[in-house]
């Protein structure tokens, strides 16, 4: 029988060899991620790191992975620090990753730029989706760490501005692997609870890596889908995170977020009082103005001695009557005069009147003679004069022709 060793012995021997090589115990390695898997239950991360020539299995345990400041994915170039050891059960060596970051000129920035472009293209930062922050709030939801300075800042400012405002805290870690999920969940349970007027999401200042949870897709989605308006206050003035861009209002700091969420109570009270005062003053002025006008018109003679109004009407009536009478009298006189004149004219035309002036009317057999031809010499005619009748005998006759008598 040949001497032999067990597989286990082989693997532990190799393990010892590798473990004793200091160069393999702490090094930086660059490559592209492929086959990335995050096991939900254990929280461990497995992937293959490769470059043009080779590939190597990598594992990052949960205890290390939860400090990741970005979301690794296939195709991403990373720089990682770790050590090599043997996974005895499969007889393969692998890299145990201690820390990892995107590789390249500001690898993290590149990653963020890419994510930002995608989120923007998908409409998460769209201004027209922003909800209005209400002017007063009775209940403020806050998503941050219960132990952070940010919460203390927020509570202090709220107390100052409006002591009555209630605060509902949804505690969440604000950095590390769990932070994106917890922050998103904080927004969600406040929405589920529903009875807050505005939500502040935030944390105090830190490095870019510390703030990465506020750049996470999970939080961006939660903020975007919130039915309650959200104010984001992350880090310092200069820090701009994707939660800032997605929120309905961006505050520079958690303190400012609280100022924007809660109006100054005393100012609001003052506004309200001033409006009420203006309204009452206007009404008083209007009413006293009307009263004055009413008084003034009641003071006039008409109201004090209403008989005057009647008297005046009577005067007018009498005066009009008189004028009518006068006018009629004038007219009647006029007509009488005309009548007299006309009667006189008629009188002058009467044949009797004409006869008094020496004219006579000749008749024969009761017919008035107007033509000499109808009369023969020796005819007996009647001549009526003004005061009697004559019988005349015709002795001769001449006829007028062209203004001359003819015989």
């Amino acid at each position: 029988m040949q001497d032999y060793i067990t597989v286990g012995m082989l693997n532990s021997y190799i393990t010892r060899l590798l473990d004793h090589d200091a160069r393999l115990q702490d090094f930086w390695l660059k490559g592209e991620i492929s086959g990335f898997r995050l096991y939900q239950q254990s929280g461990h991360i497995y992937f293959t790191l490769k470059d043009e020539e080779a590939s190597v299995s990598c594992v990052m345990f949960k205890s290390k992975g939860q400090h990741l400041t970005f979301k690794p994915e296939d195709g991403m170039e990373v720089l990682l620090r770790g050590y090599v050891s043997v996974f005895a059960r499969q007889g393969k060596y692998q890299v145990y990753v201690e820390e990892m970051q995107p590789y390249g000129t500001g690898g993290l920035f590149l990653y963020l730029e890419k994510l930002k472009a995608r989120l923007a293209a998908e409409g998460y930062f769209a201004l027209e989706k922003k909800k209005k922050i209400p002017r007063i709030v009775n209940r403020v939801g806050v998503v941050t760490s219960q132990d952070g300075a940010a919460l203390q800042d927020i509570l202090r400012v709220i107390k100052q501005r409006h002591p009555g405002v209630e605060v509902i805290l949804a505690h969440s870690s604000v950095q590390g692997n769990e932070a994106p999920r917890e922050l998103a969940q904080g927004v969600q349970i406040l929405n589920e609870y529903g009875d807050v007027d505005v939500i502040i999401v935030g944390r105090g200042g830190g490095s870019l890596e510390d703030l990465m949870a506020f750049n996470s897709e999970e939080l961006v989605y939660a903020i975007y889908h919130s039915c309650i308006p959200i104010i984001s206050g992350v880090g310092h003035e200069v820090d701009f995170t994707f939660s800032d861009l997605t929120a309905d209002l961006r505050a520079a700091t958690p303190t400012q977020a609280a100022q924007l969420a809660v109006p100054d109570f005393s100012l609001l009270q003052k506004d309200l009082t001033s409006l009420s005062k203006r309204m009452v003053r206007f009404m008083q002025r209007t009413l006293s103005n009307r009263e004055e006008r009413l008084d003034r018109s009641m003071m006039t003679k008409v109201w004090r001695e209403p008989g005057i109004l009647l008297q005046r009407q009577q005067d007018i009536l009498a005066e009009t009557g008189n004028r009518l009478k006068r006018a009629m009298e004038g007219k009647i006189q006029d007509k009488t005069h005309h009548l007299a004149l006309a009667a006189a004219g008629i009188d002058n035309l009467s044949p009797l009147k004409v006869m008094t002036r020496g004219y006579a009317i000749l008749t024969k057999d009761e017919r008035v003679i107007k033509d000499v031809s109808a009369i023969e010499i020796g005819d007996v005619l009647q001549a009526d004069l003004a005061n009697g009748r004559l019988q005349v005998v015709i002795k001769g006759k001449e006829k007028m022709k062209n203004g001359k008598y003819q015989f």
Partner: protein, 73 residues
């Protein structure tokens, strides 16, 4: 006054005061607006004094129910 919140009430109140002060309204219309304005003002005052300043923490329990506990801060 149903379906109203502080913001809309305050805006309406501001609107009423401006309308009144424009002096273009008949007395009856002014009085009606004034009456509405007084109601709005009282409502806003009440809204401002409504809450008691507690700080609570919201939990989601394992069975999915939400629970609030007082925080002493």
């Amino acid at each position: 006054m149903e379906n109203i919140n502080f913001d809309t009430a305050l805006e309406r109140l501001e609107d009423i005061v401006e309308q009144l002060e424009s002096g273009q309204l008949a007395l009856e219309a002014s009085l009606a607006l004034f009456e509405e304005g007084v109601k709005l003002s009282l409502y806003c005052q009440k809204e401002l004094k409504k809450t008691d300043g507690r700080v609570q923490r919201l939990f989601k329990k394992l069975n999915g129910e939400l629970e609030l506990i007082e925080l002493d801060v």
